[in-house]
Amino acid sequence: MGMEGGAGGPITGARILCEALVREGVDVLFGIPGGAIMPFYHALPEYPSLRHVLCRHEQGAGHAAEGYARVSGRVGVCVATSGPGSTNLVTPLANAWMDSTPIVAITGQVSSAVLGTDAFQETDIVGITMPVTKHSFLVKAAADIPGAVRAAFHLASTGRNGPVLIDITKDALQARVVPDWDKPLRLPGYTAERRVDDAAVAAAARVLDEAERPLILAGAGVIAAGAHAELRRLAEHTGIPVITTLHGKGAFPEDHPLSLGMAGMHGWVHVNRAIQACDALLNIGGRFDDRVTGKAAAFAPNARIVHIDIDPAEVGKVVRTDVAVVADARDALTALLPRVASRDRSTWRAHIAELRATHEPRQSYRVRPDTAAMMPHDVYAAFDAIARRRGHYRVITDVGQHQMWAAQLLEWREPRVHITSGGAGTMGFSVPAALGAAIACPDETIWVICGDGGFQMTNQEIATLVQENVANVKIAIINNGYLGMVRQWQQLFEGRRYSGTPLSAPDFCLLAEAYGVSAQRVERANDIEAAIERAWDTDGCVVIDFVVEREANVFPIVPQGSSIGEMLTHASATDPVTS
């Protein structure tokens, strides 16, 4: 690997790509090599500041890039070859698209001479990923690499963040040119910055000032914009209570007296009741996902709705909006704060406290069912106590029941601690995302909480953790032998017809040990605490197989398509609690 050309001389497209990534501040890439991307891997050793993490599946590489991005706020990068290498990235791209996560995916493509001829491992990955990327580039000339990389990182990390794909033909990686690093970025169809509209802010302040029963709904946009301090100031200044979405967890400390908890399908009864009763709702950086709104037409029927969102396409998409502030959440809150009045909202808050007191005893999620089996709730209670004492941790959850219990039963106080797959609901997200998070935060303990179903989708990335000497990932499997959330729906809504949900598994402890990490099975509630403490203290990755009650359920639950006022709070309820 001789130094080609020297300073200012022509270099290969592959080296230009490496140099461009260094210029973007990239320090780690998650990927798998293959034919079309080989020239890039040939150049990579010449750039020691680019750490390459060899994943076991491209889906894992993509989720690792997401995990890295979500905990750090920086752009995550994944690399794959053409054909199946690139198509395996489709799920993480879709996941990043739904959750507005800044990642850049680099894929090799067959040489431009055979492009369009169904060449070996040729797949139109730009065409395939159009609906799930913010933008994509097909680069067929080495000279175009600097501009494409610059634009990709700019697009991924500005405005509403999202995934960007750069597909580069093999001959573009092999050709030698003198790179031009000074070409100005030209994206005439793209608006990165949106100025806060003064009139909209004034209108928003008026709605809040006039409201007797206002609520703030905090979404992922608060965290993406780093606006949690501004949100807290706004809530404390106005006395308006705060509810969050799933991705808003950590935007507002849940131990704060103004924090009410999570809204939506698995939100608390008093939160959903408050939404239905409020006369003004300030949604900051949430997109009114159907898991939040339930039946959209019946959502917050008495409220004037103020929506702060960086993406104009989110305004009025699902829920009617009275005032829209299209801007970065921090910019918008900074503008709003001095214009909105401090008011006494104690009557409204007392009303919500009363709702909470009335409904909480009826909510079986708080009450440990009287059973000999170990309940998932026991695991969460122990984890929450230990985590609170120890600090310096993140939690990556997968998708399903364990994910909702983690959101409900653990207390979230800081941004970027709770990481999950929200919009896409991608089972298998957690283990590879934890790999990325662990590399971004080497001094923290990265906990995976996943189900036995999701764990079996991507656990091969434990081999990557071992190869990379990553020691700070601890995996807690909430193992109930079912695809639990689907089973729960079948129990509640389909007469217990457990079709396709009973799930066998290998011995997770033996599997973990085969990968070379330590493991423990926990079957009694009394053993939970010691297992978590031991895992936390272990210098190395750990798998804990928590074998829990098989048919525990997540409550409350709003049946799909129902108003969020109609919640089931326990399995035997024949009459939903209606508002």
Binding site: G127, M130, P131, H135, L155, P188, G189, T191, V315, K317
Partner: protein, 89 residues
């Protein structure tokens, strides 16, 4: 929500993928493309796409188009025929 007819005039990037991005967006949002013509822009870079599409409202349609990096600008005329169509629906 009822769909009504909109005529959109968009300037799109000179890129083989640009038109696909526009049409793909219309398909996945469930907007029926009625007719379309694409030609060169006078003076400026890019191409002019003029199309008639059924969509719930012009604001959301334009906001979605605006998210596409390859759409340089777009405006919509809600035609009288469109309004008449919506009224009779």
């Amino acid at each position: 929500m009822e769909h009504q007819e909109h005529t959109v005039i968009a300037r799109i990037a000179d890129d083989p993928a640009a038109l696909t991005r526009v049409v793909s967006l219309l398909r996945r949002r469930g907007y029926l493309l009625h007719s379309m013509s694409v030609g060169p822009c006078e003076g400026d870079a890019g191409r002019r796409a003029t199309f008639v599409v059924y969509a719930p409202n012009a604001r959301q349609l334009l906001a979605q188009l605006d998210r596409l990096v390859d759409v340089i600008d777009a405006r919509a005329l809600t035609t009288e025929r469109g309004l008449a169509h919506a009224a009779s629906a």
